[in-house]
Symmetry: C2
């Protein structure tokens, strides 16, 4: 007998719901016994209402204390040790080593945001000390609804980048766990709850809700006290949330990262120089993690000189292992996506050996004309497949680039000669993607200050931003300005004597100076 898993609303476990769901172990192909309760409408309301009350306290917690909270979460995640890794692996089918890496990324992200807010300049303080005296800084939006992603059960989930950025900004968080990994989510949420208590944060600064139905997420999205939504997942899921949020009586911003085909352009010179090596690297990027990255290269475009490259690719893909995907639903969608591509006229160039309940890496191909005629051919198929297009000229290569939808990333491989001869390609791709990579591969997203993980629709909803890196914090803020305030009512970031020693734009000039 297993007592069904419950919601964590503030410091309280809540078990109102009668509807339950189970996680699935995709490696063992079996349901994990313990069920989880679907959150009820009442529980969703309680979580958001508590988060809104907590916000009134949390927004005034000084940055060093918020940072201590984030660091305590990181420490708690580390302290979970193998239990967390094993649980996440059972629920996702992801290998232990990959999850250990993802855990490191998760804790590093939390610490990076802790460092960012401890340093403090991120608030973009601006002071114009004329008449009137006007002082601006970034303030948190309120309660953020964070939707966990299936493909990063740690780094884009309960204590992932969105939660870290929102909590760092001063928002409180109600997280909707991804139903594929409720046990993992529960473990991490319990850590956050303990960290909140040990560092003196208000109850409700974080709550976790479970749910396997669309209705649960939608109920969260329409709650009047919610101020923003962060989501990583499918185009369909992200678009549904976007539509809901923009049609509310009071619309709220949705920061949905909805994936991308991440086109890779291989220019002629470099293919001639190192076609074989590039084929190996490309296939590694394509099949890594069974192709389940938002930045997986699902489209690649060559022009001339691709013979050795393509031969090597086809030889190697046949020998690639099939792999276990995150959920049966994702595997099913992958196989259906490949079928649809073929029905739309794509030709299968090569495929790994099939294996039961596993995804076989695949290479498909369409002509440039087909791709230009039918943009749906270039839509994402989530998984280890990539579509090849051969351009018949540089002009056609540019036309293919210009016809692309918005992307998280776009990549160009070329020698210096290639790149100089195709400088127009960068010009086109900078309108298409949030990140442009030269002579690398899009998988592997560095978490730092300069990273952009975002891009034009349909890569993300139309709110300029990034969901990876320190700039992700700005999604959860808005600027507020204080006019002619006496010092005792101003936040310290805007005091004349700059007590936090932060960089500020003072009368148009960056400095750490005091105001005289």
């Amino acid at each position: 007998m297993h007592e069904p898993g419950s919601q964590l609303i503030g410091n309280t476990s809540s078990a109102e719901g009668q509807q339950t769901f189970q996680a699935f172990n995709p490696q063992r192909q079996e349901w994990i016994p313990q069920p989880f309760r679907e959150a009820t409408a009442g529980e969703i309301d309680r979580a958001v209402t508590l988060a809104a009350a907590a916000f009134n306290t949390y927004k005034k917690v000084a940055a060093p204390q918020r940072a201590a909270f984030l660091r305590a979460i990181a420490d708690g995640i580390v302290a979970l040790g193998d239990e967390l890794i094993n649980t996440a692996s059972a629920e996702s089918g992801l290998p232990l080593a990959r999850l250990q890496g993802e855990r490191d990324r998760t804790t590093n992200q939390l610490r990076l945001f802790a460092d960012l807010i401890t340093e403090g300049s991120w608030v973009n303080a601006r002071i114009d000390s004329g008449t009137p005296d006007v002082r601006q800084l970034q303030l948190p939006l309120g309660v953020a609804g964070v939707f966990g992603a299936s493909n990063f059960p740690l780094a884009f989930s309960v204590a992932g980048g969105d939660t870290a950025a929102a909590l760092a900004a001063g928002c409180t968080v109600v997280c909707k766990a991804h139903p594929a990994h409720p046990h993992t989510s529960h473990l991490v949420a319990a850590v956050i709850g303990k960290a909140a208590q040990s560092t003196g944060m208000p109850e409700g600064v974080f709550s976790l809700l479970h749910g396997a139905t669309v209705a649960t997420g939608q109920q969260l999205a329409v709650h009047p006290l919610l101020s923003a939504i962060a989501f990583t997942g499918s185009f369909r899921g992200g678009k549904a949330l976007y539509e809901t949020a923009t049609r509310r009586a009071v619309p709220i911003p949705v920061f949905a990262e909805m994936g991308s085909v991440n086109p890779v352009f291989f220019l002629p010179g470099i293919l001639k120089e190192k076609g074989e090596a590039l084929a190996g690297q490309f296939l590694q990027s394509l099949t890594m993690g069974v192709g389940q990255f938002c930045t997986n290269p699902g489209l690649f475009i060559t022009q001339t000189g691709s013979e050795v490259f393509m031969e090597t690719l086809l030889k190697n893909i046949a020998a690639s292992p099939a792999g276990c995907m995150l959920t049966p639903g994702i595997l099913d969608a992958y196989n259906k996506g490949l079928q649809q591509l073929q029905q739309a006229g794509a030709q299968v160039l090569g495929k790994a050996q099939e294996a039961a309940q596993q995804a076989a890496p695949a290479l498909l191909q369409v002509s440039a004309q087909q791709a230009l005629d039918d943009p749906a051919l270039c839509h994402e198929v989530f998984g280890p497949s990539s579509l090849h297009i051969k351009a018949n000229s540089t002009e056609e290569l540019y036309r293919l680039a210009a016809a692309l939808e918005g992307q998280l990333t776009a990549t160009i491989h070329g020698t210096e000669d290639d790149l100089r001869q195709h400088a127009g390609l960068v010009d086109i791709l900078r309108e298409k993607a949030g990140r442009i990579v030269i002579n690398g591969f899009p998988t592997g997203v560095a978490v730092n200050h300069a990273m952009v993980h975002g891009g034009p629709w349909p890569a993300t909803t139309p709110a300029a931003g990034t969901s990876v890196g320190t700039a992700a914090i700005y999604r959860f803020c808005r600027p507020v300005c204080y006019q002619d305030f006496p010092a005792y009512l101003l936040p310290p970031e805007l005091h004349n004597d700059n007590p936090l020693d932060i960089w500020r734009l003072v009368n148009g000039r960056f400095s750490k100076d005091m105001l005289s």
Copy 2:
């Protein structure tokens, strides 16, 4: 005989439309003879298509050249001299002195943005020089659709803040002129066209479209090559554009400034100290420009000690002159708004003497309970009226503040004792408004670096930003990052040697240093 006014599409005048409209002189109460043609669907398409083509060139124009373009526009506006002021006055009923001030603001804004992009640090360059090497900056979105506002025929219209910010960012602009001032719009558009030619900008960097119907604006908003919309006007108009833009196949951001009631809180101590003086200042802020400012104080809240203040107000408002509004439609909406307030239970405390075709300043009142029960009482009535609410306790004052919708501004008048005793009020209001003013009045928006003219819905659509001040430029940008780029493909802002001498966030540290 008057040849109807035409669209300005790039360098060409276009006169396809057969449907025409006329502007109205509200002072003289007569139609201005020359009609203007409503833009056709074909003209709208040509303007946006040309702007999209121009963007491919304009986005690569170096900042000093873009700055020269902005300055040439400012010079051209000055050179229009009295013709511009007289034309704008005839179409808006605004006094010459007010329009001279607005012209100065308009040209100052253009020059401020020119200075901003010449200095260059605004691009928020971020460099992480590890492995991978990742470098980020803000890039322009594409073609911006700018909708001119009725109440600022210069500063929020054809060459107003939105156009200045968009052109500064590197976007091209298709402007939909407000139909209340087409002649003024035409004069300014011609200046922009000449400035574009004299400074070597690509044709189509700016186009002007006329239209008095909703359809024209909607056709612009759905054009597939449009990337963003900026709007200043009514809640109804802004919301319609927001809905259209978010329901496109590819949604685009809408930065709509939709107005606000701009609540003013008068605390007990200061009312006792200087109730009479405050009454005079408040009435001046309320009636200035016949109350036709987005930041007009349409709501004021007192607690105790308001007797002298209210008496003075009532005495003075009776003696206030009625004034000419921008259009007959706006006057009509003002009078209907006052009627609706009364039907909803508001009591008229005092009103200026009525005059034919003019708006009489008015003060109305509801009880705190009425306001809490019926939030519609606190909706904007555009014009020189303000609604008074008396709170029966500090707790009720806080409840009234917490019940407010999103605002552009919120203002508190208080002595130091008042303010310290009501510190919770700032806490509430910072969630409600983009700008909080202490002991001042919300009308009069400084154009500088720290200003925020924006706020939570329904003050603006939910995209954090400001439509006044240099931070307005970020509405027209998104971050793009370059990974492992060779120097010859990087924009100069991201070169190791920092040739533009801008502030950058290099490995997390602000500096102007070169990278070694």
